[in-house]
């Protein structure tokens, strides 16, 4: 699924593009107390695809939470339109070449609670891909 999303974005980009696509899934839960009672108790899930596109030394970014084919196609289209309007950076060195990513080391510290009710416990990019 995640790889499909990234491919659907990258396939829309013109030849010669360099691009960074980050897909993020966040879960937030927050409980607020006021006057010694819970007056607000909220949670949400957010999935965001962010595209940073480099073309001919120009850079533009865009994002969407619409991860279907139409939403991703529109993200690519408007970011391509934006990059053509952006000023060129004569010093743009290009993206660093791809490198292998070491496997994450499992944490040895147990989570204090199985399901946190405050803060932003889960926020991590799932994939970062270079295209073109």
């Amino acid at each position: 699924m995640n790889g499909d999303v990234l491919s659907m974005v990258l396939d829309q980009l013109p030849a010669g593009s360099e691009a960074e696509v980050v897909m993020t899934r966040e879960e937030l839960a927050l409980t607020r107390f006021a006057n010694s009672h819970i007056h607000q108790n909220v949670a949400d899930i957010a999935v965001t695809v962010r595209l940073r596109l480099h073309l001919d030394g120009r850079t533009a970014t865009g994002s969407t939470t619409l991860v279907g084919p139409d939403g991703l196609r529109q993200l690519a289209e408007r970011t391509v339109a934006a990059v053509r309007l952006s000023p060129p950076d004569p010093g743009w060195p290009g993206l660093a070449p791809p490198r292998s990513c070491p496997a994450p080391v499992p944490s040895t510290t147990p989570s204090p609670v199985p399901r946190p009710m405050t803060g932003r416990p889960s926020s991590r990019p799932l994939w970062t891909v270079r295209a073109g």
């Binding site: 409980t31 819970i38 309007l85």
Partner: protein
């Protein structure tokens, strides 16, 4: 499945999971902004988001859950989860929660928009900012900056009481600024206001601003400020331009009359209010010239809508009438808790955020005077305009504000330009000193009002005239 179907599925799932009331919003929002500096585009952002937010009331406990997926299964699960969270809230219960009565509504609303701002070519919008900032830079501004922002929001609201409301709100605006860098300090002049002017209108709003036509003037004024005399420290007569009045109203009236702050619900972050509900209807907020109106119907103003995010139709209400405090910004639950019979000021920053009490358009009604009359009738004072800094305590009582520019007023005439003008006051004392009020109102928009946890950014409007205040401390340092 339509957006209404999605919302209804979520509401029904919440009811099935034990909620005695539930509502749901499907929202789709597109955002675009561009900035330029010294005649070059600096940044262009284009974002899009869509999702579903569900609110459920179980007993006296509220729950809220939001998902970016608007499919049937996700909507059903979201409604169930909202009710589960509400049930959990009831483990630490507060006073009995209920909602003020609201007739069931079905309807659609959209603001007037002559030129769809998202349909204006990027090249046209870019040329505008490049041209205006280039002109200001050529005129001597060390830093000439310009920006515009566009929001296009569609929302579909359904409640367990039967509400079915959809709205399409298009907002945009922009502005430019010129910064001059001197030996020891920098000075800035902005047009048409700090961060620009915004409204519920189409691109015609930006066209009417004529940003390029004001670029050279603000560059000249920024440079002139570098050598202007410092605003003196004194207690004197103060005339505030309408742009600074918008900030004055926003900070020292708008936030103070938010009922959730008055009830203590926002004490953890945004703060509380100096206002005590037992004094509603029996407290002098300002002079008899002070008439503050909450009105989400003002055409083109940034805080306008057809219905708030609880389905309450837009309606005007006095917050301060002839100087007396008579009304608040309220939601259905906070109003019921306060013993009031009206709501209508609840909005959320997108589908993923809980609707909360928010300013709509909070404005000051015009008076009988002109700006020329206010200056002509001032023997010794200072005129200040265009907000530069703001600081106010968490009860919205003691404040100190700075402006971009000031001018001496001597014997009924504007005199020398003054740099770093500031003034300070205590809310009700300050407003009670207002003795002249212009008859010309400008509907200033504030697109960056922060409040709530998780953080939400609200859009508010402040239609206001210029005004004169007596015996105000100015030139405060530190």
């Amino acid at each position: 499945m339509s957006e209404f179907d999605t919302a209804i599925v979520a509401v029904e799932a919440a009811l099935a999971a034990g909620a005695r009331y539930a509502d749901a919003r499907v929202m789709h929002r597109r955002y675009e902004s561009m900035s330029a500096r010294n005649g070059e585009i600096r940044e262009l952002m284009q974002d899009e988001d869509a999702g579903l937010g569900v609110r459920a009331l179980v007993g006296s406990g509220w729950g809220f859950f939001a998902v970016p997926d608007v499919g049937d299964a996700a909507a059903r699960a979201a409604g169930t989860r909202a009710a589960e969270i509400a049930t959990a809230s009831g483990r630490v219960p507060g006073p009995a929660a209920d909602l003020v009565r609201l007739p069931v509504r079905s309807g659609s609303w959209a603001n007037d928009c002559a030129v769809d701002p998202l349909e204006v070519p990027l090249s046209v919008k870019g040329d505008l900012l490049v041209g205006a900032t280039g002109l200001a830079h050529d005129q001597g501004a060390d830093l000439a900056e310009g920006t515009y922002q566009i929001w296009d929001t569609r929302k579909w609201f359904a409640s367990s009481e039967g509400h079915r409301i959809d709205q399409h709100i298009r907002e945009c605006g922009g502005g430019i600024s010129a910064t001059a860098i001197g030996e020891d300090e920098t000075q800035r002049r902005s047009y048409p206001s700090y961060r620009g002017q915004y409204g519920t209108r189409g691109w015609e709003l930006v066209d009417e601003l004529d940003l390029g036509g004001h670029a050279a003037r603000i560059a000249d004024e920024a440079r002139a400020l570098l050598t202007a005399p410092q605003c003196p420290a004194a207690e004197t007569t103060l005339i505030l331009g309408d742009e600074q009045m918008a900030l004055q109203i926003h900070e020292s009236v708008g936030h103070a009359i938010e009922l959730d702050r008055i009830l203590g619900w926002e004490a953890a972050y945004a703060g509380t209010s100096w206002l005590d509900l037992t004094r509603l209807g029996n407290l002098t907020y300002g002079s008899e010239l002070m008439n503050i109106v909450i009105d989400p119907r003002v055409p083109g103003a940034l805080g306008s809508f057809g219905f708030d995010d609880e389905g309450t139709p837009a309606a005007p209400r006095y917050a301060v009438q002839n100087g007396q405090w008579v009304g608040v910004l309220a939601g259905r639950d906070s109003a019921m808790m306060a013993g009031l019979d009206y709501a209508g000021s609840v909005r959320s920053d997108g589908w993923a955020r809980l609707p909360m009490v928010r300013m709509t358009n909070v404005g000051l009604e015009p008076g009988p005077h002109s700006m020329d009359e206010m200056i002509a009738q001032t023997r010794d004072g200072v005129f200040m305009d265009m907000n530069r800094s703001w600081s106010i305590d968490d009860r919205r009582l003691n404040f100190q504000f700075g402006c971009e520019v000031g001018y001496e007023v001597k014997d009924g005439r504007l005199g020398r330009m003054l740099r770093n003008p500031t003034y300070t006051g205590i809310g009700p004392r300050f407003w009670q000193s207002m003795d002249m009020l212009s008859s010309t109102v400008v509907p200033w928009g504030t697109p960056n009002c922060g409040k709530g946890q998780p953080s939400q950014v609200g859009h508010t409007g402040h239609p206001t005239p210029a005004a004169r205040f007596r015996n105000v401390r100015i030139g405060v340092r530190g």
